[in-house]
């Protein structure tokens, strides 16, 4: 247990059926473990319940069966710190960039004395030094998402949840952000659970990939990406891996349709 940051066992989540009669399972007895300091991705088609899974882990959505355990890094009984980067930045537009980061620090009861240092460290890390006093709406979409990333890193979470954080950005910005995230991970190594529908993004960023099918969401494959990081986005080994995984994906999806 101590080497695992996150353990999920037999997790199920029911939603009411669209016709109003009864329920259907969005997630059914899903189990996974993520070792401390690992970068794990969950890849699955849209609407397969990935965001629901992250919300359950974050504790903002209830679940119907199973267990989610998050171990605090210090091994004490105190509750775990969870960072969350959403698809859209979800910033408090009336607060300056630095106050947005401080909001998370305050929410997590982090000692006021280290706020300035944390704000500086993590805004520098995401490349936003000098933007501290700016308001979010004066920044581009990509920069806003960087603020959201700094906010999540700044609490130094036991687990960092990322829900398709680059899917709302144009491809050029998204690509730059992925490369930058790769470099950030050389300096800070939180445990990350990254959700995406892009296999390419998953194999480029992660050490572990979980592949998920739809309705109910279940994991049909788990693999490790044994290519040392930092990686080059154009690394041919990544392309080969992606190609073979895509094939497997379609095979499973077709099976599900029968």
């Amino acid at each position: 247990m101590s080497s695992q940051a996150v353990v999920i066992e037999g997790l199920s989540k029911m939603f009411p059926s669209p016709n109003g009669l009864g329920q259907f399972a969005v997630i059914e007895s899903l189990s996974l473990e993520i070792a401390r300091g690992n970068f794990a991705s969950i890849v699955g088609p849209s609407g397969c319940g990935k965001s629901t899974l992250l919300n359950i882990i974050a504790g903002i959505e209830p679940h119907d069966a199973g267990q989610v355990r998050i171990a605090p890094q210090d091994g004490t009984g105190s509750s775990a710190r969870i960072g969350y980067v959403f698809q859209s930045p979800r910033l408090l537009n009336w607060l300056t960039v630095e106050d947005n980061v401080k909001f998370a620090l305050e929410a997590q009861n982090i000692e006021r004395g280290c706020w300035d240092e944390r704000v500086k460290k993590y805004l520098d890390m995401v490349g936003l030094a000098g933007q501290e006093r700016n308001f979010p709406l004066k920044l581009s979409g990509g920069m806003q998402q960087r603020v959201a990333i700094a906010r999540a890193f700044a609490i130094e979470p036991d687990i960092l949840l990322m829900d398709e954080p680059f899917s709302h950005l144009d491809e050029i910005t998204a690509r730059k952000m992925r490369v930058d995230l790769m470099h950030i991970l050389e300096r800070a190594r939180p445990t990350i659970l990254f959700v995406t529908h892009s296999l390419r993004e998953a194999v480029y960023l992660s050490e572990e990939v979980y592949m998920m099918s739809v309705k109910p969401a279940r994991i049909f494959k788990h693999l490790r990406v044994e290519i040392p990081r930092p990686r080059e986005p154009e690394d041919p080994r990544l392309f080969d891996l992606e190609k073979s995984l895509v094939k497997e994906f379609f095979a499973v999806l077709e099976q599900d349709h029968r």
Binding site: A58, I60, A107
Partner: protein, 256 residues
């Protein structure tokens, strides 16, 4: 920016111009000109009028009444609107009372209060609070309906407690609604205070309208109306608009 100010001055100048032209065409007891009215306003400040009071006295009384009723209506309305918006049971309990209160014509509310309380200070002030509060409540209720659930989820995911959520997430989202309620309530308050003063209250600018109205003294009636309008415009555009600019500094200019 300077162009805008120039245009605004132009609109005021053309108003005065039309007024002046009209006054040349009609007898002074029907439409006295701007100069006569201006002189009357000045003399109202320098020499005591009826009840041996100068204009400052009446202005102070009217402003005090506005401030008093406006503050109470804002606090009551905001509190009730928030309670209704955030607590379903309160909304069910009070939901129907709001449209009823909004439907009662303002003029009737003033008459009702005169009948209940007589020509007393309490009656007039009660009428104002009674008519303004529901408008503030409705605005705040609309604000709570427009709260962004995604931001609340974000705050909860980061484990923000209730106090922090209220301080940094809720209040700011409600700010546009608070301000529109503020402006609207302020506009309503001064109109109803003037009305209540005209019909029942002693002293105040509205009281002076009705005093001079009964004497059929057109110069004085216009002098008091102009004074009143000028005062309210200064308050609305000079004070409230400035505060608003401060609070909404975070919004890009085109969103305003």
């Amino acid at each position: 920016m300077n162009k805008q100010i120039a245009l605004r001055c132009l609109s005021i100048l053309s108003f005065v111009g039309i007024w002046w032209a009209g006054s040349l065409l009609s007898p002074p007891e029907i439409l006295p000109g701007p100069v006569a009215v201006g002189k009357t306003i000045v003399s109202n400040f320098t020499t005591a009028g009826p009840e041996d009071k100068t204009a400052e006295f009446h202005i102070a009384i009217t402003l005090a009444r506005i401030l008093f009723t406006f503050s109470i209506a804002m606090v009551l309305g905001v509190a009730l609107g928030l309670l209704m918006g955030l607590r379903r049971k309160v909304e069910l309990a009070f939901g129907y009372l709001i449209p009823i209160a909004l439907t009662i014509p303002t003029l009737l509310a003033v008459f009702l209060c005169v009948m209940w309380f007589g020509y007393s200070e309490a009656g007039g002030l009660f009428a104002v609070i009674m008519t303004v509060t529901p408008f503030v409540t409705v605005n705040m209720l609309a604000g709570t309906k427009a709260l962004d659930k995604d931001l609340l989820d974000m705050a909860r995911a980061f484990k923000a407690d209730r106090r922090l959520i209220i301080r940094k997430v809720l209040i700011w989202q409600l700010m546009p609604y608070i301000f529109s309620a503020f402006r609207y309530a302020f506009g309503m308050t001064w109109k109803i205070v003037a009305l209540a003063e005209t019909f029942g209250l002693k002293y105040g600018i509205g009281y002076m309208f009705s005093f001079w109205f009964e004497q059929f003294n057109m110069v004085q009636v216009l002098a008091w109306i102009m004074l009143f309008v000028a005062l309210m415009l200064i308050l609305e555009h000079g004070v409230i608009a400035r505060v608003e600019e401060r609070v909404f500094a975070w919004r890009p200019v085109h969103a305003l």
